[in-house]
Subunit: 229 residues, 2 copies
């Protein structure tokens, strides 16, 4: 991060984090020593708020308690859509039925999902991610959710808008072959896959997505980018 | 029921009930005045037990408490598959994560679903049915569940086996265009749709399933069947 910023390049962090507000997310990163500000973070919840305002939608929220402040300014009375995030402990039978009933009662049900991850790992084991619950509601209502967050094209476009940079002048660095690399490339950006984190050797034979290059870690990605300036 | 039995015809009740054992299901029907015995009921849980035994599978159960006695005779130690029913209040975040972890930890995950209904109505409102949770686990594990229960062909075949009757000598009567009518026809049976219960006028334009005839109610179905003897 420090080397990128020192070189004069602009930086935007694209995360699918939906358990905390950007403020709390940035606080955590700063505590770990990363020099990052809220304005440098693109996250699904603010992207969803943008979309809700644009279309006059009033959401019923099925999200993590930690995310609720992101929707503070949004009118939530008499909901005409459901916003689904990684609600974790809030994914109760009662809450899922409530979200379902609201959707099935709408003339044209609108389900906005803050990502479509299948699962993730926490210290106490693997957990079902928002994508699994999205599929449950999609099937029950016979609808397609609108996904905000990586790999949605709109999401990368809003990150580029924040940077004020056209896609051909931007490079995505990520560990997820589909969400990070595939999503950015669909948007006209180049993309590097780091061989850390979610990376699996089988990614290198992915049937649909091929990164512009592989790097062994973030430092190597920065080396390559700075060499080409 | 009385008229069918008096005529000498055999009868088998095919239900997707997975919240109670057949014993309790029959008790409820008898209390309502229906002359029916446990042997006359084909239900998903016993069909699943048959399949588990056949393939040497030891299930982890995510089902309704009321259904657990149906699996009393089945070895459930060191599970190598997951059996999913309409678990209702047992569809907790913790239980879903547990079922998911077992599946994703298997070399070849086996998910057996006791039906694939989208939702159903109870006195306090609509509820997500087993199919929605099946889709969540399918997506998270990137697998296809094996569905036991209507409209699975195997399910109708086992009902016919109970009756000792070939499909061309059997008639299905049901209110669900896909689960009842479509499932039975795929098995070589004829099928009547009753215009009660789940029936919707739009069923008559169903793109894939066309009943052999419509009847306004069960009594009319019996009239037609008895006339043709």
């Amino acid at each position: 991060l420090r080397r990128i910023k020192a070189s004069g390049l602009k930086l935007q962090l694209c995360t699918n984090e939906t358990q905390a507000t950007r403020e709390n997310f940035v606080r955590k990163l700063r505590a770990m020593g990363f020099d990052i500000s809220v304005a440098e973070v693109t996250a699904p919840a603010p992207a969803a708020c943008h979309l809700l305002r644009e279309r006059g939608l009033r959401p019923h929220l099925l999200v993590h308690d930690g995310l609720i402040p992101e929707f503070a300014e949004i009118d939530k009375t008499n909901p005409n859509c459901v916003v689904l995030g990684d609600a974790a402990e809030n994914f109760t039978y009662a809450n899922l039925n409530e979200a379902f009933r609201l959707l099935i009662g709408m003339e044209k049900p609108v389900l906005i999902s803050l990502g479509k991850g299948r699962y993730y790992k926490e210290t106490d084991g693997l957990k079902l991610d928002v994508g699994a619950y999205m599929k449950a509601l999609e099937y029950a209502c016979d609808i397609q959710a609108e996904v905000v967050g990586k790999p949605a094209k709109r999401f990368f476009e809003s990150a580029l808008a924040e940077l004020g940079v056209p896609p051909e002048q931007a490079i995505m660095i990520g560990d997820d072959i589909v969400s990070d690399v595939g999503g950015a490339q669909q948007c006209g950006m180049r993309a590097l896959q780091v061989r850390t984190g979610k990376y699996r050797p089988s990614d290198e034979n992915h049937p649909e997505v091929k990164p512009d290059a592989y790097v062994n870690n973030l430092a190597e990605a920065v080396d390559i980018i700075l060499q080409q300036l």
